[in-house]
Symmetry: C2
Subunit: 84 residues, 2 copies
Amino acid sequence: MRYAVYLNIAYRPEIRDPEGDAIRRELLERRGVQADVRAGKCLALVLEAADEAEAREGAVKLAWELRLGNPNVHVVEVVRVAHA
Amino acid sequence: MRYAVYLNIAYRPEIRDPEGDAIRRELLERRGVQADVRAGKCLALVLEAADEAEAREGAVKLAWELRLGNPNVHVVEVVRVAHA
C-alpha cells in the first residue's frame, strides 16, 4: 500500500522559535488575534508500507537517518497519515 | 474552544520543489527507498474558535492575510485540526 505521511520537523517546545514568535506578534499587532505559533518544516512523503504504523515509523526513521532534523534541538512529529 | 491547526505552506503541485527533489534523491541513493517528497513550511497555530470549521478557515485566512505564502506559487493546506 502507498501512504502519504506528513512530518513536521520543528524545534523542541523548550527551544525558542524566532520565526513562530515573529508570526505570533504579527497576528496580534496586525489582526488582534492571540495565537500560539510554532514554525517547522513540513515533509509530505509518499511511500510504500505494509500498514499505517509501518508508514509512520518508516518516515520518522528516514528523516532522522537523513539528518533532516538535529536531534539536539528538533522533534520529528507525524502530523497526518493517509492512503495515497 | 482552543484549537491547534497545522498548516502546510508548500509549492503548488505543478511548481518544481528543489528541496523535496533533493530529499527524494537522497532517499533513493542512500536508502534505496522510492518515495515522492514535497517540502513545505509547517505552522502549528493554537487559536480560539467556535468550532473546528471556524478554526480551519480562520487559520488559512490569517496565513494569506499575513502573506505567509505567495498565492502565485503556494498552496495553504490544513494538515490537521485538534482540540488544544
